[in-house]
């Protein structure tokens, strides 16, 4: 049963931090109007990056790979740039399915949709990471609408806000966000564990559900003690009686949670064709949209990174203008004719 506490102690820390060993990876998708995507992966690290590396995203020998060394004052930075043209989002999905990198256990998919709407053509590109734990907990239950944007904000932007104007306000904000994030992740894990446990003990459903809040509270770092969480949440008698099931469920949960522990962080960027009109990411002034891809975002809910853009259909504008003018002239001609 102590294993559950270890999972919690280590798990949350691992989810909130990411390994310094992994190269700083940025995946940029240049989406073309025909649905093809030029995908560029840039990996940076202060020690050599061997290719093939266990990349956060699938990169193999079919990619155009270049290596660069950038000498710095203290360290030399190794930069590996890999680029490949994908004829469609389906090809990216195939690459995801065949991925043998460090994030191979994640279920990821890309989709592209083009909608012709006469005056404009709209494009939607999205990359989705399916949740790791099968019990769904929505982030909206824990964060306000304002906090949500901070929760999903890329680290570089967070740092920028921390060091810019109103830094004290942001530092305070992130202290609160850390607490909320921990609560949210804990709740996700509790829900997932409950789902695992109740599969074997469906008759205890009402009892377990009634203790979920308490179990979540007990999982907060300051509440974690050497005593069994289960004893505190469910009582000594119940814990003793169901010890075998509880241990079994923790073992199952551990296997499940390992996926989240092994997920490697990277940043996903997308440049859409035409003019960007909507996204759930964070665009910069060159209309490049960024999303952090971190296990905490897709632990308990699906994480979709989408962006929409539009292009003008010049010919449709011309045809429409001509048609409207023609009808108006016709109506004016008729009106004058009747008047005469």
């Amino acid at each position: 049963m102590k294993k559950f506490k270890q999972i919690l102690r280590l798990g949350i820390v691992m989810l909130l931090l990411f390994s310094c060993e992994d190269p700083d990876t940025v995946v940029t998708n240049y989406v073309h109007p025909d649905g093809s995507v030029t995908r560029k992966v840039v990996m940076k690290r202060t020690s050599e990056i061997n290719v093939p590396w266990h990349h956060q995203v699938p990169v193999d020998s079919s990619w155009n790979i270049t290596k660069t060394l950038i000498p710095g004052e203290t360290d030399t930075t190794w930069v590996v740039t890999a680029e490949k043209f994908f004829a469609s989002a389906d090809e990216i999905n195939e690459a995801y399915r065949a991925d043998s990198g460090s994030n191979r256990m994640l279920v990821r998919s890309a989709s592209f949709k083009r909608s012709f709407r006469w005056f404009y053509t709209f494009y939607r590109y999205s990359e989705k990471v399916e949740r790791i734990l099968f019990a769904e907990v929505k982030a909206e239950q824990f964060f306000t609408q304002e906090d949500i944007s901070y929760f999903y904000m890329p680290a570089a932007m967070r740092d920028s806000l921390r060091q810019g104007a109103d830094s004290l306000m942001y530092i305070e904000k992130w202290a609160l966000m850390d607490t909320l994030e921990t609560q949210y992740l804990n709740r996700g894990m509790v829900e997932a564990w409950c789902a695992v446990y109740l599969e074997a003990n469906p008759e205890d459903s009402a009892f377990i559900h009634s203790r979920k809040e308490l179990l979540t509270e007990l999982m907060l770092p300051e509440e974690l003690s050497d005593d069994s969480i289960f004893s505190k949440a469910f009582g000594q008698d119940y814990t003793e009686r169901k010890k075998e099931y509880l241990e079994q469920s923790v073992a199952e949960f551990d296997t499940l949670f390992e996926k989240a522990m092994n997920a490697k962080f990277y940043t996903c960027e997308t440049i859409m064709p035409g003019k960007l009109i909507a996204t759930n990411g964070f665009p910069d002034h060159s209309f490049k949209v960024s999303w952090p891809v971190d296990a905490k975002y897709f632990l308990s809910q699906d994480y979709e990174m989408w962006a929409e853009s539009k292009t003008f259909n010049i010919w449709a504008w011309m045809v429409s203008g001509g048609f409207v003018l023609f009808v108006l002239l016709g109506l004016v001609w008729r009106w004058l004719k009747e008047k005469v």
Partner: protein, 182 residues
């Protein structure tokens, strides 16, 4: 025959003596002129070419259909414009710039800059004035140069506070406080 000829000549003489008198000859002239104009105008609107082009307006169902089509197109355009504006206004809130915290979006930058209290930055009696557009251009050029220089390894030290370089410029354009500018 001669008798008939004489009678005819008598009649002609009689008619010549009794010439018709117009009560209002001016009005007759006006009416003639108006009729000529109307005829010309009616010719213009009833010319075959125009009938061919706009003849559909004389057919009620075609007139209704094409008018409805026109209204529909305008309606689609208005709807799409409104929808796009709504989406773009939401998108504005998501713009962030690592360089300038107050420089929120390409759309709001102009708005932000127009809020700059230029009169506070410059002395009252200073003749130097910088227009909003010039100031925006200056900032844009600065950001562009900064981005380009970052691509040259070792040219600019990595810093998240790149916005502060501008502050350290030390000229009159230097904002007093970031907070006070917004």
């Amino acid at each position: 025959m001669e008798k008939n000829d004489l009678n005819y000549q008598k009649l002609v003489k009689l008619l010549r003596k009794n010439t018709p008198e117009l009560e209002n000859p001016g009005e007759l002239a006006n009416r003639v002129i108006m009729d000529i104009n109307t005829s010309a105008a009616s010719g213009f609107f009833s010319s075959e070419t125009y009938y061919r082009i706009f003849g559909w307006t004389l057919i009620p169902w075609m007139r209704t259909s094409l008018s409805a089509g026109m209204v529909l197109l305008i309606g689609i355009l208005i709807f799409q414009s409104v929808e796009l504006n709504r989406k773009l206004s939401r998108l504005e809130d998501r713009f962030v710039s690592p360089a300038y915290n107050y420089y929120q979006s390409p759309y709001s930058s102009v708005r932000s800059l127009t809020k700059l209290p230029l009169t506070e930055s410059f002395p009252e009696n200073d003749s130097i004035r910088v227009s909003t557009r010039d100031l925006k251009n200056l900032l844009d050029e600065y950001l562009k140069l900064e981005k380009q220089s970052r691509e040259i390894p070792g040219s600019v030290p990595e810093s998240n506070n790149s916005g502060r370089h501008f502050e350290k410029g030390g000229d009159n354009l230097k904002p007093k406080q970031k907070n006070s500018q917004i």
